[in-house]
Symmetry: C2
Subunit: 461 residues, 2 copies
């Protein structure tokens, strides 16, 4: 923003922030509803837990517990803590039983260990069993750590900082970097709250992020040590565990994106940066226009999406995307950009700069002076009517032989696709059958993935 614009009365930072807060602060009604739900959940869970194990207790964790949730959030996490002397099997059995008693319509899910998820009065509730331990470094599974995180933040977040956390979350959601699931690979709630504590506020975090030079390392408790080194663009040593980077899942793109939009917000404060909006789905005419203008050849492999939770599906999809892209490049089909989507179907999309190769390819033999190998190579091809050569180039025999796949479609439709490094369930899905779309045919993805195609062909930071 230029000085003129500022003088002309463009929104200033505080004005924008006030308006955002009006939207994201839960109002009295919302709080009241939440309190009622939380009380009921804790009561049910505690009854069920102590009935089985008198020494168990129950805690609310997460942003709802810490008053850092933003209006409209509906996630409530109830942790049921058991003493460490009960064995794992018993803990799991008790945990599920408590879950089902707390959420009569709930269903079981499996992360590191099983838990029950369900609904109560419009809130999405997880009832998760864990061990109650003396120190976070003794944890037996990741969920055991959560209550420690909660304690740490509870002790530091006053009402003022909670407000800053809400702003920060709204901003991170607005610019698409919020969430540590393996689809987003962005900033978790815990990480966000730690960053706000560390820098002392939302604006301070923005100012700092705008000048970050990754790798950025923060160590709130100053207890990181040389035994634990992290190769991540953002490192925030867990205050409850010096061996853990809270930002391990946050990828370079999301770190850079936060930097970009932090600068943007500081230079030109405005509401729309706090409002995530999906682009309008790309329609077929717009897709054709892009392809005409770009003169690339998009290819897509489409299959029935494996029935997996997102945190299992997306890493497999990503592995498959990378494997297919690499295989295309190795076969000479130059890739401009790739993407992968999943809903009912899974899709790996590759936009090719080169979709056809000649019928022949160069095949280098051994150096002529490696006599035995060289003679074998020469003899193998000397009378082959399907190759050009052997001829000598530098010190080697060379032939030009038939290329296996002249088109990207030919490769993708062949069994060779299944030899690519794919996610295990994606590989099974492909083995059951898949569809290859080339060029304009990718318009068939529009009804299911129009929004994703819009994001692809009309990219923003």
């Amino acid at each position: 923003m230029s000085d003129d614009e500022a003088a002309a009365g463009a929104d200033d930072f505080e004005t924008v922030v006030e308006r955002v807060l009006e939207r994201v602060e839960p109002d009295a009604d919302e709080r009241e509803t939440f309190e009622a739900v939380a009380t009921e959940l804790l009561r049910r869970a505690e009854d069920a837990a102590t009935e089985r194990c008198p020494d168990a207790d129950v805690v609310l964790v997460g942003s709802t517990a810490r008053e850092t949730w933003i209006s409209g959030d509906r996630d409530v996490d109830v942790f049921v803590r058991f003493p460490p002397d009960i064995d794992r099997d018993t803990l799991e059995r008790y945990g599920l039983a408590v879950g089902h008693e707390t959420l009569p319509d709930g269903r079981e899910e499996y992360a590191e260990h099983p838990y029950v998820t369900g609904e109560l009065d419009g809130f999405d509730v997880d009832v998760v069993p864990c061990y109650r331990l003396a120190d976070a470094t003794d944890i037996r599974s990741a969920v055991d750590r959560t209550p420690f995180h909660d304690d740490y933040l509870q002790a530091r977040l006053d009402a003022e900082l909670a407000r800053e956390v809400r702003l920060t979350k709204a901003f991170m959601k607005g610019i698409g970097v919020y969430g540590s699931n393996l689809r987003t690979r962005g900033f978790s709630g815990y990480l966000t709250e730690l960053l706000v504590c560390e820098y002392g506020g939302f604006r301070e975090l923005c100012a700092a992020a705008a000048d970050w030079r990754p790798p950025v390392e923060l160590d709130p408790e100053a207890h990181g040590d040389a035994d634990h080194q992290f190769d991540d663009p953002l490192v925030v040593i867990d205050p409850t565990d010096p061996g853990r980077n809270v930002a391990a899942v946050c990828d370079a793109t999301n770190v850079a994106r936060l930097q970009h939009y932090a600068r943007d917000l500081l230079a030109e404060p405005r509401l729309d940066l706090f409002e995530a909006e999906d682009p309008a789905p790309l329609d077929e005419a717009a897709l054709r226009d892009h392809l005409d203008r770009r003169r690339t050849t998009p290819v897509a492999v489409r299959f029935d999406a494996p029935d997996l939770v997102e945190d299992q599906l997306y890493p497999q999809l990503e592995k498959s995307r990378a494997g297919i892209a690499d295989a295309l490049v190795r076969r000479g089909f130059d890739v401009l950009r790739t993407d992968a989507y999943a809903d009912e179907t899974g899709v790996v999309l590759a936009e090719l700069a080169v979709a056809e190769r000649p019928a022949v390819e160069r095949h280098e033999g051994p150096p002529v002076h490696v006599r035995a190998h060289a003679e074998d190579f020469f003899d193998a091809y000397a009378d082959d009517p399907d190759v050009y050569g052997p001829f000598i180039d530098g010190d080697r025999y060379v032939v030009e032989r038939e290329r296996e796949f002249e088109t990207a479609r030919g490769f993708l439709e062949s069994d060779a696709l299944l030899e690519v490094a794919l996610g295990a369930h994606v590989e099974s899905a492909l083995a059951d059958g898949y569809e290859v779309l080339v060029g304009d045919e990718v318009a068939a993805l529009g009804p299911e993935f129009g929004v994703e195609l819009a994001a692809y062909f009309e990219p923003v930071p």
Copy 2:
């Protein structure tokens, strides 16, 4: 050759060699004619030289002098040696005067220094002035060395070895590796004779070459030293100068080719390996057949050949070939194979695996965290309607912008071609105008370069 074939009476090595010798040994008539010409040349040159410098003398050098010429060779080199106390200008002046008196119809040529070339009774004669020195390591220019080479070989080549040299030369000519000019980059006469001396005969040389493991180093006088290291596939330390590799010009392809055909000859001795024959020129129909089968896109840049001697022209042509190939590859036009020809016109030919690219190309900006550069990059493209992006990929801004050249033809026809690393005279020739041929259009090269195209599209070792 299998044992059965041998038993069935295929030609044996000695039978083949005898037949080759019948062809390559000059007969009595040819020798007599040569003697007469040589005597006349020496008389004329000596008269002209001593008239100007009483201390000058005249020698025949090269294969004719050493009796290692093969029937049909017509090259005679007359060296006029002046004492080292006359200055260079005088030497050149005297040398040209002696040349013109010896060859009244001769013309001047310029290698390292000027000499006269012409004809006498059907022989091609060079009259070359040089210094007469005590030691080859004192030479002032390359030609001063020649008489030392001559002395060295004269002392070692008896009639038996001279016969072996003739055979070797016939073989090297037959397989296309004879000649140290910068077009062929093969084996010089001097190198060939040294190799025969070193191994003791033609068959022995073949047996040794068949098992060479380059870099091969030979040092007939065992006077090579650590101060002179050579990075060539074949190193033969000059017996008259430890600082010189006689085989410096011989490239890896010709070394490998000699190895290949030496094995072939030993396994299956036959006359045709001693008989160089150009392939039949490729006609237009055959060219189209090859292109249909290969599905490549040949492109050719054709220009008026610069008026240079071959040893100046071919290095320039080679530099231009490499420069154009590299520029094509850098712009995404993948090259399968290239070649270059010269006659009346000069041609750089590149056979492309990819002749078209999309309209857009990826252009990576700075990492987002390099704030000043990153902001400049973003601002430069943020409102540019002709680019896609900027978006963020990993830690960087990226845009997809219009590619400069979508087709290889577009690039080759543009001024950008003149910015490629080219030979100086080729660059001037292109600046005066050139023609670009694409695909079937390269058939237009047939009338001038049909033989070269046949060698290209029907390659042999």
